[in-house]
């Protein structure tokens, strides 16, 4: 899988969309602390991997994809939903990285705190690189991706090519 960075996509996100994610992140961090205080570290630890931000992210992905299609005069409802579903497929693979992060913290933090945080982040990146970079997220949802065709160039050759690729 060829991984690209598209800085131009930053311009598509409105300031209030970043503000929503900032607020959700802040509130969830407070909640995770409160839950740990009230119910103990076992329940608190579960909420370190709670998908609090994911609904906002998936909704934004759908909205942006739909808007992009509507700009060129096409209906983007299905395309938007496909994009959100593909985002969820990626998060499925990402959850293994999250588990690796937790595993390293569990095993290493009692002996060396800085090494635990560095190692946990490294483990997360390594899992991302191995599973994400090798295309496992595509392989895991192969049938879905075939339908969605979001990771590929559309097989078009007619005059409408540039419009549909927009």
């Amino acid at each position: 899988m060829l991984i690209r960075v598209k800085l131009s996509r930053l311009g598509e996100t409105q300031w209030y969309e970043y503000a929503v994610r900032f607020m959700l992140g802040g509130v969830m961090t407070i909640l995770a602390g409160l839950i740990a205080k009230l119910f103990g570290p076992i329940a608190g630890g579960l909420f370190l991997a709670f998908p609090a931000i994911f609904p906002a992210s998936a909704t934004l992905v759908e909205k942006h994809e739909r808007r992009r299609k509507e700009k060129v005069g096409l209906r983007g409802t299905q395309r938007g939903r496909d994009a959100a579903a593909l985002d969820a497929a990626g998060a499925t693979v990402g959850s293994f990285g999250l588990a690796a992060f937790g595993g390293v913290i569990w095993l290493v933090v009692p002996t060396n705190v800085p090494v635990a945080f560095f190692g946990a982040t490294a483990a997360w990146v390594l899992v991302l690189r191995q599973l994400g970079g090798s295309g496992a997220c595509r392989g895991g949802c192969a049938s879905f991706c075939k339908k969605a065709r979001l990771d590929r160039k559309p097989p078009l050759s007619s005059t409408g090519e540039s419009l549909l690729r927009a």
Binding site: M1, R4, V5, K6, R9, L10, E12, Y18, R21, F22, G25, G26, V27, T29, I30, A32, G33, P41, I42, A43, G44, L46, F47, L48, A49, P51, I53, F54, P55, S57, A58, T59, E62, G80, R81, A84, A85, L86, D87, A88, A89, G90, A91, S95, G97, L98, A99, F101, G102, G103, I105, W106, V109, P110, A116, G132, C137, C141, L150, D151
Partner: protein, 114 residues
């Protein structure tokens, strides 16, 4: 007390925003989706937990986080299926799938850790 919560709010907000920006700029979308399950809340919370409660407490949270993360994987699969097979709007799907996260996380935690 209040200062600690303000600090938590700011650190959590910044961590989540950084991963959100990364998710926005990477392509293809399936790779960008990996950042949807980034350890943003964990990075923000665990540092403060070690500071306040000690490393033993943080280790227990880390162990529980493994179960939470696997529940996140199950949640994402359910979300993907709700959107693709039942054609439910993404916001409704992600909220509905929350039931899957709660059931999976608490059931497995109860079976393994209680």
């Amino acid at each position: 007390m209040i200062a600690e919560y303000i600090l938590r709010f700011v650190i959590g907000g910044v961590a989540v925003s950084i991963f959100a920006v990364l998710s926005d700029i990477f392509r293809p979308k399936s790779f960008a989706g990996l950042f949807g399950a980034a350890p943003s809340i964990a990075l923000a919370t665990l540092g403060l937990t070690v500071w306040n409660q000690g490393s033993g407490y943080a280790a227990i949270e880390g162990r529980s986080m493994i179960i939470g993360a696997l529940a996140f994987g199950f949640y994402s699969v359910v979300t993907c299926q709700l959107i693709k097979r039942l054609h439910i709007h993404s916001l409704a799907s992600t909220i509905l799938a929350g039931i899957a996260w709660f059931s999976c996380a608490f059931l497995v935690a109860w079976l393994l850790l209680s």
